[in-house]
Amino acid sequence: MPVVELSYSRLQKLIGKVSKKQISDSLPFLGLDIESEDKDLVRIEYSPNRPDYSTDFGIALGLQGLLGEKIGTVKLKIKKSSKYEISVKSNVSKIRPFVTGIVAKNGKIDDKTIKQLMTMQEDLHFGIGRKRKKSSIGIHDLDKISFPLVYTTTNRNHKFIPLNSEKEITISEILTNTDVGKDYGSILGQSSQVPLILDDNKNTVSFPPIINAAVTTVTPKTKNLFVEVTGINKEDAEDMLSVVATILQSAGFSLESVKISGAKNSTPKLDSRKLIVSSSMINKTLGLNLTPSKIISCLKKSRLDASSKGKNIICIIPAYRFDIFGPMDLVEEVALGYGIQNLEPTLSPSQTIGITNPISLKLKSLDKTMIGLGYLEALNSSLTSKRVLYEMTNRDSKKILSVLDSKSQEHTILRDSILPGLLENLSRNIHESYPQKMFETGTIFLTGDPIAEKINFAGISAHKNSNFTEIKSVVQSALNIGFGIQIETKTSTNPTFENGHCASILLNNTQIGIIGKIDSKIIENYKIRVPVVGFEISLSESLLKN
């Protein structure tokens, strides 16, 4: 979840007459988690589906509603203008076909506002922009640009001075030498042509989705802004623009339209939508009995507009609330407006009878038997390492099942056996008193299509007099008491066990497991100082279910 840093005093200025405590008490009920607080500063986690909460302006809008300071929809007031135009050339249609934009004028920009806008930009890029792939924003100083603009393509030798630079460099150099170029260059693929926004004087404004030109950099001296959003999908680009427009309007800017023309593109409308939902559905889902007018007031507190027609609620949803897909999303908005803290939990009578899964029951009874035999239960991860699973125990690693890109070297492959983990446990406990007797039941994974998941049962006994007879007695008794079966053992060899002290465990002449004395070299590998005997059995479905 993304995090945004806010100041209480700034929020207070934006919201109106509310105390710091009212704000901190209300934040969680807006779905915002307070991560940490330090005097005036507060760090807040917000959901990626609400990019308007990436700035204090957006959060202030939400809090105004919840605290009743200002309710209902934030209407975008966009003055129609013919001064600003972007014409789109058809050559961009294969690379990054859509562009949209807006102009924001006469706002006060201080360092804190710039910081908030940059956070919003980054979070939008990451979330709905999918790391700039789907859509990306450029925010520019309007007064450094001469309209009309053209959205076109250029080749990789094109030169301009990019943001945070002083000299002209080529697109190729940007892509190979700058951080943003390295991070996002792959979005443009291998094509020789890349997207570009040029102004009327043929000056580069932006090289989307990588970097803006230095000349249009926003500073505390900037008064008027130009925002462009480019992307591979018209709706996504306009969604993104609607968030930026809403936030800029809330920050005190007045908005003016930018005319988009040519190749599939059109001037953004950023209109609100209408969604109809029945009040009975809302009440049934929440377990409440609210009147339509109460529902409407709840929706207004969530900064939506609504009216009723009979039992139906007609809801008006502003463009920036594209997280609202359907009626169920409105139910949540009603719940938030009503206040989650006001929802009293109730318990409905159950008509159902609970049943433990027979396999879980069987495993639990096996646990009890092993404990009766003096064995302590261990739990190991199913994700383990090649070292523990194969190298230390001298096992064949041909049928290895590994995961991609694990962040932990100790957890890279799925276990196909439980015993190695138990041996690893012994080696970590060599300073604890003996005897050490442990068992584990758990899932193991075998290659195949589909991958087989089986439940295995393994145990070990380590002490200075441990021997084959002891462990066979344990297995024999556990399987007899736990499953009512009689096993046999037959001489066998296995790289984990010592020759002459190893046997297959047979049930009705079918091998179900292996038992014996752990090979002395393996004991040495694990630095264990006493002899160890152990077993591992594969528990079939039929054994587990009867």
Binding site: T285, L336, G354, S360, V403, L404, D405, H411, R428
Partner: protein, 462 residues
């Protein structure tokens, strides 16, 4: 006093009553016990504060190899002087007669000006009555003598010579009875044993503490009318993500968050209808080109919800209470609060009248049964539920609210494509979090380290 005494203790006490201050040696003689029995008996009595043991240290000296030789044959310089008593001798003769002590004895005699050396002839100059060290040698002889009984000036010369004197530090114990021991009546405890003595520790075999919590949670769910379902830990992305309305380019699906199985794709992921309807829901709502190959990628399940949704899609119940419990995986860095693999509990209620307040009610009941009463609900966001809430529970030790379970009602975008037509209340969370509260742990790794000291001793907090 009704203490129990060992036979050894009784004998020692009896002897000390007759003879109040003794050494272990004298006790050995008077009680006829072995030295080791005396040692143990004294220690037991001392721990019970019945015997007083005064330890004192003293140094004793005895003769070393060269010391004994000198005691028997005289000091080397004495033997040199003795040879010269009857007149001067030749250097070479002396060398022959004295052997290895010739050098040292000549050296000393010259240094002290006892002899004259001229023209290869050695003669006595002065012959002292008693040489330094001779008195001490005689005094020690074959015995061990306390150092303080010896003239330190006479001893010091010998101490400098190799292998002449051995010094030992001797610990001597003086044992006496404490006042309370004097009034002990042995007949009070005729055949008893020492019930207060320390005994060796035995270790209990037990279920793993985490498993105890898992079993407890399973039982609570069953008593609340829920039935348990099981499912695979390896799942296709289709059931783990797509069926749960997570778009294919969602960050949660990236390699750095999710474990993908290397080079393994699922051949069969669902029925053609399920695949078509799920992909339609994605295309319509998320506006992108849904790719079946992405859905075929096999992952280690990131939640047990995939098991639940598959079960619901296959059975389409009008009313049900089911839960699944098991391991889930996240590709995170292991730390005191993160594991790559942990247990999750997940429950759902299906029913035409299932409401958000019911969902909250079941939560409250569940927490009450595991012993958590201070809870509250906060709104939150999950991709596949709407509305969504999270439970916050108050942790007294940390003095703050911590997040526990997430919950919500399955989105129509999830249920409708799979033919599930009744509301589904769902919630879930990590079991380790609850177990950490129960066992008062602040490092989640403890559960899987199988440290015997902890496994053998872990107790639940109440």
């Amino acid at each position: 006093m009704s203490q129990v005494f060992h036979e050894i203790e009784k004998k020692i006490i009896t002897s000390l009553r007759e003879n109040p201050k003794q050494t272990p040696n004298s006790l050995e003689k008077s009680t006829q016990l072995l030295p080791d029995q005396i040692r143990r008996g004294i220690e037991w009595l001392r721990l019970k504060e019945l015997a007083i043991v005064n330890e004192s240290k003293s140094t004793v000296v005895s003769l070393g190899k060269n010391g004994i030789e000198s005691f028997e044959k005289g000091l080397p310089e004495r033997r040199l002087l003795d040879l010269l008593k009857n007149g001067p001798k030749k250097l070479s003769d002396l060398q022959k007669e004295l052997g290895s002590i010739f050098g040292p004895s000549m050296g000393l005699a010259r240094k002290n000006n006892w002899i004259d050396t001229s023209n290869d002839q050695i003669s006595i100059k002065t012959s002292p009555q008693e040489l330094p060290g001779e008195k001490t040698l005689k005094l020690i002889g074959n015995e061990k003598i306390p150092k303080e009984k010896i003239d330190i000036n006479d001893l010091s010369g010998l101490l400098k010579r190799p292998d002449f004197i051995i010094e030992d530090v001797l610990k001597t114990q003086e044992i006496s009875l404490s006042t309370s021991a004097k009034s002990i009546n042995f007949s009070d405890s005729a055949d008893g044993i020492d019930v207060e003595a320390n005994v060796p520790e035995v270790f209990v075999a037990r279920t793993h503490p985490l498993k105890d919590t898992i079993d407890e949670i399973r039982e609570i769910f069953v008593t609340l009318g829920f039935s348990e379902i099981l499912g695979n830990m390896t799942q296709s992305s289709f059931w783990n993500f797509d069926a749960l309305f997570t778009p294919q380019d969602h960050p949660a699906r990236e390699l750095q968050d999710t474990f993908y199985l290397d080079k393994i794709n699922a051949k069969k992921i669902g029925t053609p209808e399920q695949i078509r309807k799920v992909s339609d829901s994605h295309k319509k709502n998320w506006r992108y080109q849904w790719d079946i190959n992405e859905a075929r990628k096999m992952v280690l399940r990131t939640h047990t919800t995939c098991v639940t949704i598959k079960h619901l899609a296959e059975n389409k119940p009008d009313e049900a209470r089911i839960f699944s419990l098991g391991r889930v995986f996240r590709n995170e860095k292991v730390s005191y609060k993160h594991l790559v693999e942990f247990n999750q509990i997940e429950g759902v209620v299906v029913g035409k009248d299932a409401s958000l307040r019911n969902l909250m009610g079941i939560q409250r009941e569940f927490y009450k049964r595991i012993g958590i009463t201070k809870i509250k609900f906060w709104p939150t966001f999950f991709p596949y539920t709407e509305p969504s809430l999270q439970t916050m529970v108050y942790n007294e030790k940390l003095g703050k609210w911590i997040e526990l379970f997430g919950m919500g009602i399955f989105r129509p975008e999830v249920t409708k494509p799979l033919g599930i037509n009744k509301p589904v209340l769902a919630w879930g969370g990590g079991i380790e979090r609850i177990a950490m509260l129960k066992y008062d742990l602040d490092d989640v790794r403890e559960f899987y380290s199988n440290n015997l000291r902890w496994l053998r001793s872990a107790t639940k907090c109440q």
